[in-house]
């Protein structure tokens, strides 16, 4: 086993996540005020966006960047189809719920990505800055894809359901896309000099903020699954198998289009991750009949911890294997 898989467990970031899970399991009243959690997540998105923009301002844009953006968008459209079939078939979910869950798995989780960047960075496999833009590009397509699957391709939704155009506008202007891409643009425009001014705030605090945020995610994820009633063993299995398959496929796709080890792994993590912020909000609006008890519990309480604690390590090792860059000495 790649030693980097084990190393994950000594990172304070992961340890705080496990502490959150522990606190929820012993029914502690520990809770991060929700305004703080929201503030921390805005901070993380601004910081990762700035950092990505700064990196691209140095490296410039070339064919690989375009290829990665196209690959990400493609994956965002295609993953839901595969997920939908698995959910309807093996998972025994109805069409509406299958479509809703599929949309979550095609889209991405910013915090999973950020955690992966930390872990990959500690392995000297820092992904390229443009992967932030790839992440932003992958947020929306799966929502469209999942909605079409849920509603059946021909039909256009009940009267009173929001129009696809309206949905699209809402998805493209949702806060995480605007903040990520906005900060990315600021990093690109400001460059090294602009970043120097704000770097003590956005860089020095980053890991500590991530610790706190993952503490909260651990609490929320574990509390949700403890209260959950809707999850069968079939759905739980899918919530583990999907990130494994999507992660491997995404990594392979990344290597195929010529990404470096870290960036290919990051693409794998994006494919493996499931949204639990942007997509649930969109689904509540577009498919209110779908059960949040299913899609949130799968993405947030099973897939998210699995990715953070196990799968990022696996994907990193797999990327290193594929690119032949071997196991880094630490």
């Amino acid at each position: 086993m790649d030693p980097t898989v084990i190393q994950t467990f000594t990172s304070p970031v992961i340890l705080f996540f496990l502490l959150g899970i522990f606190a929820a399991v012993v029914r502690s009243d520990l809770a991060i005020p929700e305004a703080i959690a929201k503030g921390l997540s805005l901070y993380l998105m601004a910081a990762i966006g700035l950092k990505g923009g700064l990196a691209v301002s140095k490296s410039g844009i070339d064919g690989t960047v375009i290829a990665a953006l196209l690959a990400g968008t493609f994956a965002g459209f295609v993953i839901p189809i595969f997920a939908f079939l698995l959910l309807k078939g093996f998972g025994r979910l109805d069409r509406i719920n299958s479509g809703a869950v599929a949309a979550h798995y095609g889209s991405i989780s910013v915090v999973t990505f950020v955690t992966a960047v930390e872990i990959l960075g500690a392995q000297a496999r820092e992904p390229a800055g443009f992967m932030v833009a790839v992440m932003a590009a992958m947020e929306a397509p799966a929502i469209l894809s999942g909605l079409m699957l849920a509603r059946g391709f021909g039909k256009s939704g009940e009267a009173g359901d929001p129009k696809t155009g309206e949905m699209l506008r809402e998805v493209l202007t949702n806060s995480s896309i605007v903040l990520l891409l906005g900060a990315f643009a600021i990093g690109l425009a400001g460059g090294e000099r602009g970043f120097a001014e704000v770097s003590p705030f956005f860089e020095a605090g980053f890991k500590g903020v991530l610790c706190f945020f993952l503490l909260d995610m651990g609490l929320i994820a574990a509390r949700r699954i403890m209260d959950s009633r809707a999850i069968t063993w079939r759905l739980a299995s899918i919530a583990i198998v999907l990130p494994l398959i999507n992660g491997a496929a995404g990594t392979a796709l990344g290597v195929a289009i010529g990404l470096d080890t870290g960036s290919a792994a990051a693409l794998g993590v994006l494919c493996a991750s499931a949204s639990y912020i942007a997509v649930p909000a969109a689904m509540r609006l577009a498919l209110p009949e779908a059960d949040p008890g299913i899609y949130l519990t799968m993405s947030l309480s099973i897939t998210f911890p699995f990715n953070v604690v196990v799968n990022i390590g696996l994907i990193s090792a797999f990327a290193a294997y594929l690119t032949g860059s071997g196991v880094p000495t630490l």
Binding site: D227, R284, D291
Partner: protein, 102 residues
Amino acid sequence: MIETVTRKRIEILSDTALLKRVTDAIERAGITGWSVTPVLSGKGSEGRWREERVTGTDKVIVLTIAAQDKAMQLAEDLAPVLTKFGFILSMWDVQVIRGERF
């Protein structure tokens, strides 16, 4: 003695994500105003929840005061979608001053 008139007070519990559905219906009923108040946690047929705005599962209560006929129009409008959207609607008579504004 001041003069009070009777109006309906309607309160609708809704997911924050679906708030616009509620306020659109209020406007369709020709009601001039509303106020939105927060909800922290609760329990229903789908089990307990607590405020987790991070996952968009938070709820609000929309309250609006309106004349009887407009209130009924609002209730009629929302009735068919109450179950689908999980709204909870209750209404009762209240006395208000400056009744002409409602």
